[in-house]
Symmetry: C2
Subunit: 120 residues, 2 copies
């Protein structure tokens, strides 16, 4: 589409039973996966129209515009729904760190050591 039609986007989204959509947050240039948050329709609308990422906090039950408290804002650079409309990918420019632990990515905190596979 040539311009963002937010109602058309919301019509394509398949929110879960709680009315939420998982959003994968990726640094636009390095392609690091920084975190996964959750959005309801209003958080998604704000994220796609305001240039800043807003989540719905499931623990606090409130909107959470990333960076308003911490300063660690996420500036939107791109976004896509997946093929069945039940997951969002948002490419952003992260100010500071994404994780409340102080780590750059929430996935830097608990690396696992899986058995590695290879093409036969």
């Amino acid at each position: 589409m040539s311009e963002l039609d937010i109602d058309a986007v919301l019509d394509r989204v398949r929110f879960d039973a709680a009315g939420l959509l998982p959003a994968v947050i990726q640094q636009h240039d390095t392609r690091e996966v920084l975190m996964v948050g959750w959005m309801d329709a209003e958080a998604l609308r704000r994220t796609l129209t305001e240039g800043r990422v807003t989540f719905w906090s499931r623990s606090r039950q409130e909107y959470w515009r990333k960076g308003d408290t911490s300063g660690h804002a996420q500036h939107v650079r791109g976004a896509a729904l997946d093929c069945d409309g039940d997951t969002l990918l948002v490419q952003i420019d992260q100010v500071g760190v994404a994780c409340h632990t102080g780590a750059r990515s929430c996935f830097d905190v608990d690396p696992l050591e899986p058995v590695v596979g290879a093409r036969s």
Copy 2:
């Protein structure tokens, strides 16, 4: 940890009310986000110990080892839990394409045009 202790990992995971965990699948070298799938404890155990990604299919209510039907296997290269243990990131080597539509990534199918933000 120096070796994978699957029970210790499962103890740290916070599965949702349905017993599931979202898993972000990322191509290990290009860092493309290819898809998001869901795992229960058994799918997670298989993924971390078999070198191939296995999901729990919510629609079919069965285990789904990616590639067994399509040939488009996902070979595990790394994995991490996030800071609060409710999301998994899996770095993989994708054979062929990840998406059932034939697209490389499930997020190639429906790109949006959000309002872009920038650091002030």
